[in-house]
Symmetry: C2
Amino acid sequence: MASDAALLIVAHGSRRAASNDEVRELTRRIEAISADHYDPVACAFLELAEPSIPDGLRALIEGGARRIVVVPYFLSAGRHVAEDIPGEVSLVLGEFPDIDIRIAPYVGLAAGIPGLVLDQAAAL
Amino acid sequence: MASDAALLIVAHGSRRAASNDEVRELTRRIEAISADHYDPVACAFLELAEPSIPDGLRALIEGGARRIVVVPYFLSAGRHVAEDIPGEVSLVLGEFPDIDIRIAPYVGLAAGIPGLVLDQAAAL
């Protein structure tokens, strides 16, 4: 089956390399379970790590993506989710107006979050 | 059935009141689905919002909790998860050495996270 779209997971980015590597590892795990639907799956960072959101989007477009779904890897809707991520995406939409880039609801809005919190409590 | 423990969901805290209210609303939703197992379910904030982690723990203890599970509502293991939350918890353990307080793995470690990211991509 041909993939529908490329997926870009956007995290905040950290001074701790291990935190950024955690996002990269998550990206690989997501790619492994979703290659039929999203291909490729990549990640980008708002700050403090590479690639930036515009660079991440440009790399996907240069690789042939025509449709990209951006998932903000954030638990709450602060300024980063409400303003900064849309601003960075708009920048690239200005350069490539024929590419379909959409921003999905951030992870904290997922219906599965309460269950996930309880899973972690039970993991003790 | 008697509840096993109290649950304290610990978030970073934000200058945006709406972000903090989102955590409080999540806390109510978790309490609604877990009252048999964790009771009460409360939240606390590392900074920028009330209650603080020590105050949140003290309120649970004063309410009768003898066992408390703390779930860090964070997606990655930065300094906040690795040092700040354990430090705040230790403070209260020093005051109440006979209370059993344990810190669960942070939310970003949950096995369900990759599926949740894909759920959000599909929500578009």
